[in-house]
Symmetry: C2
Subunit: 220 residues, 2 copies
DNA sequence: AATATTTTTTAGTTGAGTCTAAAAAATAAA
DNA sequence: TTTATTTTTTAGACTCAACTAAAAAATATT
């Protein structure tokens, strides 16, 4: 069965909202990410349920069926591979690629995606450190930690971000934070939960809790 | 003013039908290429005329306005650059890229196209020998000749094709004809207007008039 | 437990782009 | 130059994916 542009977007967004837990997703949550109204979402959820891609009971929220998840993973795979292409081959910055990849992810051609994957030398992660699902529909688990959970004294490496909005990424640029940055947590400030961190051995800088929550690291 | 997917397709097709002459294009001709019915075309032409992209009077046919031509050239430019990408970077054959490029041509990002152009080292032609419009909206004139117009004895080089359907290109593959093939016309057969041609100095083969019409050459 | 608030769904519209069937205009043939 | 044929347009309907406004259900508050 073929998927429309709109359907693919809904499935992708339901997938995103489902990551990391197994509660059903609310209509409103979907509406916010699709930039549509709740009434429109209700219509679409009924349609997706009819096609067997989601489990949906009115007033009970929605979750992906196995088939729906497979489609969603295919879209996420395409999105992330195109992002690698845009950064690695076209020279874009990591804060510039999201919108373009939102378009490219809907290009339909299995052979193109396989060739693109080979051309990019089978990347494991996208420019934001997010794992790229395999062509069999498996999302690799990377097991990163949140910088906001690090204790004073810990050394770690910035491996990814939990949010890829341009404003957030541009803030990281200003702070000289990027994938691979070596972080040394000096202290966690009780007052506002901000963290004093030295970045690549420079004098320590403050990182707000809000920012730290969205930075993914692994211990050095 | 922004352009929808459908509008872009219509403008591109009207452009294609207008190349090489200046008569107005009929509703039916457009319908055939857009794979829609004449009634749908009439609706769209009225809409395109309202937006100022075509000149259209009912029963009189249609032609692009300068603004419409600029949009069409932008689409053609994107289409052809993506085709170069698909063949040169992704390893597709020239008969496999049309459908994928039909999708990619609608990706909206000026900066992407400029970077793609640079990445491909500013190609002048696509994998079928068709010229790539400049970013200022100028279609280069290559002045190729049709193989069907060559007289016996002429030597020439295959520079392009006037049709890029997969079946046609696959036939050329079978005949070992590709861009750059050296052609030596032995004789033009009066009976069916087929041409006896030696390809890259191999023993002469027959090329039907129908095929020869769609092969573009320059004199060697 | 009753009431208020929030969330979600229903019902009815809208716009884009397509369709079919029938009418009108243009073109070709007798 | 009539008549027949083809092309094009009009009229009305359909699907998809969105909307608003109002009703219904679920949740939170008093």
């Amino acid at each position: 069965m073929s998927t429309s542009f709109a359907e693919e977007n809904y499935l992708k967004i339901i997938y995103r909202l489902s990551e990391g837990h197994d509660e059903d997703i609310s209509t409103n949550a979907v509406a916010e990410l699709t930039q549509t109204k709740a009434a429109s979402v209700t219509d679409m959820l009924r349609k997706l349920a009819e096609k067997g891609w989601v489990h949906y009971q009115k007033y009970q929220g929605v979750r992906l069926s196995p088939e729906g998840e497979k489609i969603a993973l295919g879209i996420v795979r395409k999105h992330r591979l195109w992002e690698v292409f845009l950064v690695e081959k076209m020279g874009f910055n990591w804060d510039e690629v999201h919108e373009i990849a939102e378009q490219l992810e809907h290009i339909e051609s299995d052979s193109l995606i396989e060739k693109l994957d080979a051309f990019l030398e089978y990347p494991k992660t996208d420019p934001h450190g997010d794992p790229i699902p395999t062509k069999n529909g498996v999302m690799p688990e990377l097991g990163y930690l949140h910088l906001s959970d690090m204790k004073a004294g810990k050394r770690c490496v910035l491996m990814g971000v939990a949010k890829d909005s341009a404003v957030f990424l541009q803030l990281l640029n200003k702070m000289h934070l990027s994938l691979g940055s070596a972080l040394h947590v000096q202290e966690v400030n009780a007052f506002d939960r901000s963290i004093s961190v030295s970045i690549d051995n420079a004098p320590a800088a403050f990182i707000s809790h809000e920012v730290a929550k969205n930075i993914l690291v692994k211990l050095a």
